[in-house]
């Protein structure tokens, strides 16, 4: 009874914390007027979306996709082309995500014939092909027209990035707690065993890939809306894949909170180091990353569970101490 009560109060505490965080993030542009802070927050949300989307396939379905930048890039390319040619932004954004899903399904069936490291190499190769092709087909820089720059505001970009991050996290949460999510995790743990229990591995992997590509495509679309000028090839660079993977690993793969913590850590700490240390920042960040991997193989989410375990152990120790007969010294 007492245990159930503490679980309910824990749930209430979590709900209150989430609501407070949502209020704080929604109110941020109203309170903070500095463009640099808003800009940093946009990057955090963008990376959280990208990493969470990678986590659906990589963390829950256990397929290490090293071609995630292709989905991000396709979302960015389609959205930018349509939006700058005068189509409504929301439609352009959705079109970008749909193109990413289309490409995912196209490559998914042959790619899933590969397993493990071969799947990773296969997806990396496909993304590289797309990267080079886009560079050849679209060699010109895409810049926002001067008129658009005059009216350019970071705040709508901020809310777009926030909504996409919440949407991705929310969907990942619902997916993971559904029958489909359990199927995905079963495939991750042991594909053959899952198949023998009637779980279609290909179907679940394709579903995870489509969801992953959809949200990566949306993140790409948000990038296209946010960025003032870049080469169309740029969102296809492998760095977008590796950043997403690094964030998921720093935070903790296969968890909902991992990519959020990882995204905040990756963007904010890296930016602070870059501002403070200039030329040395990459070395210091590299050291921090190695330390995180060495000491927290489960990611930063592990810190919280370690603290909880330590507190629980301490409490148990105190209880045991109290239960012992006191030595009166006589």
């Amino acid at each position: 009874m007492q245990k159930k009560g503490s679980q309910v109060s824990k749930k209430i505490a979590i709900s209150i914390t989430i609501v407070l965080i949502l209020i704080a993030t929604a109110a941020l542009p109203l309170v903070v007027k500095k463009d640099s802070t808003i800009n940093l927050a946009i990057l955090v949300f963008l990376y959280v979306t990208l990493s969470s989307s990678w986590n659906i396939l990589g963390g829950y379905a256990g397929q290490t996709n090293l071609g995630h930048a292709a989905f991000f890039g396709l979302g960015a390319l389609t959205t930018r082309l349509l939006w700058l040619s005068g189509r409504p932004f929301i439609l352009s954004l959705l079109a970008g995500a749909c193109v990413a899903v289309g490409f995912a399904l196209l490559i998914g069936i042959p790619a899933f014939k590969l397993r493990g490291v071969y799947f990773s190499i296969g997806t990396l190769a496909l993304a590289q092909i797309l990267y080079i092709t886009v560079g050849n087909v679209f060699p010109m820089i895409t810049s926002l027209p001067t008129q658009a720059l005059i009216t350019y505001q970071l705040v709508p970009r901020y809310y777009l990035a926030l909504v996409l991050a919440l949407l991705t996290i929310g969907t990942a949460y619902l997916l993971v707690n559904s029958r489909l999510g359990l199927g995905m995790m079963a495939v991750r743990e042991e594909e053959d065993a899952a198949e023998s229990l009637g779980v279609s591995a290909l179907q679940h992997k394709l579903l995870a890939l489509s969801a992953s590509a959809f949200f990566a495509g949306l993140a790409g679309g948000a990038f296209a809306y946010y960025h003032v000028g870049y080469y169309p090839q740029f969102p296809f660079t492998p760095v977008w894949t590796f950043d997403a993977v690094m964030i998921a690993y720093i935070g903790g793969t296969g968890t909902i909170v991992g990519p959020i913590i990882g995204g905040i850590f990756y963007v904010v700490v890296k930016e602070l180091l870059a501002l403070k240390l200039v030329e040395l920042h990459l070395i210091v960040f590299g050291v921090l990353f190695i330390l995180a991997v060495l000491f927290l193989p489960g990611g930063l989410v592990e810190v919280w569970s370690k603290i909880q375990t330590a507190f629980a152990r301490r409490a148990r120790g105190q209880e045991a101490q109290a239960a012992l007969p006191r030595d009166t010294g006589i």
Partner: protein, 430 residues
């Protein structure tokens, strides 16, 4: 377990100490002083005293110090720093509004050759440092992103190390670049050849190896346009994607067509592969203008005699005889053991132009500084500078040639450190 945690805590503490004790690289700046040489007209009794001068004139730069453009950024950074140091050693910039000389404080951030990070750095410089002007990094894609942010924030922006003209066709009002652009590069090569080589000996049959990038497309179009105008004929125009490995087909086509001149803008790996294959296939153009790849100081060492006779338009050379170049070279020599690099002079000139504009504007108002930059008419370490309405600079476009493993300035004649060597002897005879 405890030992592990302790080790981790010690390392994290060390890193935190390092972070909190380090600051970005602001230049050493003396305290502001009253301008001694400034005219000291006696103020009328009713005239209000000038407002208190700010401690510094804040200027910010986002430079690729790491990543794929790190080598370019390494040439740009000392140029900015030396110029700021030289100006501050003289007390700073006189600003009439405050009737005081104010030192410049330059904050430099590394953008890791990533346009998204460059945008972020420029927003930070604007929000946190309240900079009156931006100094750009290097490479077209970086400038495309950062110049747009300057436009958005209405902050004057001086940038070098990009020749792409398209950026200037966006209608930007705050972008200024005292650096030669594609139209000058496409025109000057024919003008120099016609001036230097007698008719009948000129390499009139032209081969263009066009990279499928924006700059490659832009330059190839301009070269074709200018060739006919100056009496040259494009006999081969081939395209290739960046990072290609096989150029043999286009080389053989050029050889077959009897092309005597090669025009191209390859990146360093492509340029190296292209020339090695030209040497293997036995096609030696009498004249080669290869922008970009041979600008790297390692070209001579990597290519040996195959790399000789190649010419480039890098924007500047340490041999130019403009005021201040000698001092800049001496400073660079003392720190790096060689005269100033190709991008260091133009970077130095950016700060000279900015300081001059602030002094003429007489205020730290960004729009006034922008207008003053637009009206620039001065001599810098890159020579005389004025700006066109689109922000492109009217600047010297020197031609450099690799000779015996050294970059020699061959044009204009009055600055030349060596004569233009023409025609290039066949690769096998070198």
């Amino acid at each position: 377990m405890r030992a592990r945690l302790m080790t981790m805590m010690v390392i994290v503490l060390l890193v935190s100490t390092l972070v909190t004790n380090c600051t970005p690289t602001p230049t050493q700046a003396p305290t502001p002083t009253k301008e001694a040489a400034a005219p000291t007209e006696e103020a009328a009794p009713t005239e209000a005293p000038p407002p208190p001068a700010p401690e510094f004139i804040e200027v910010g730069a986002s430079i690729p110090l790491t990543g794929k453009y790190g080598a370019l950024g390494a040439m740009v950074k000392p140029g900015y720093e030396y110029a700021v140091q030289d100006i501050n050693d003289k007390g700073g910039v006189y600003v009439k509004e405050y009737d005081a000389q104010i030192p410049i404080r330059l904050t430099i951030y590394d953008d890791e050759s990533d346009p998204t990070k460059a945008v972020s750095k420029l927003e930070t410089l604007y929000s946190e440092q309240n900079v009156v002007a931006y100094l750009g990094g290097a490479a077209s894609d970086m400038h495309a992103a950062t110049a747009a942010i300057a436009e958005k924030n209405k902050v004057p922006y001086l940038g070098i190390a990009f020749a792409l003209y398209a950026i200037h066709q966006q209608g930007y009002q705050y972008l200024f670049s005292p650096f030669p652009k594609s139209p000058a590069q496409a025109r000057d090569v024919f003008e120099i050849l016609n001036a230097e080589i007698p008719e009948g000996e000129r390499p009139t049959k032209v081969a263009i190896f066009q990279e499928t990038t924006d700059w490659g497309i832009e330059l190839a179009g301009l070269w074709k346009e200018n060739a006919a105008q100056y009496g040259y004929e494009v006999v081969v125009h081939e395209q290739y994607a960046p990072r290609s490995e096989d150029f043999s087909d286009m080389i053989l086509k050029a050889k077959q067509a009897g092309a005597e001149m090669l025009l191209a803008v390859p990146n360093p790996p492509d340029g190296i592969a292209m020339f090695k294959q030209m040497s293997e296939l036995g096609w030696t153009p009498k004249f080669s203008l290869i922008i970009r790849a041979p600008e790297n100081i390692t070209w001579g060492e990597t290519m040996g005699t195959v790399g000789d006779y190649v010419t480039i338009f890098p924007g500047w050379h340490h041999g130019e005889k403009f005021p201040g170049v000698e001092e800049l070279n001496a400073k660079y020599q003392a720190e790096f053991g060689r005269p100033a690099d190709l991008l260091t002079g133009p970077a130095y000139a950016c700060v000279q132009i900015l300081a001059d504009a602030i002094e003429r504007a007489g205020t730290l108002d960004r729009d006034a500084i922008r207008d003053a930059i637009a009206a620039t008419d001065m001599t810098t370490v890159v020579g005389p500078v004025t700006f066109n309405a689109d922000g492109t600079g009217n600047v010297l476009n020197p031609l450099i040639q690799w000779q015996n493993g050294q970059q020699e300035l061959v044009w204009p004649k009055d600055h030349a450190t060596a004569d233009l060597l023409y025609p290039a002897p066949p690769f096998e005879e070198r």
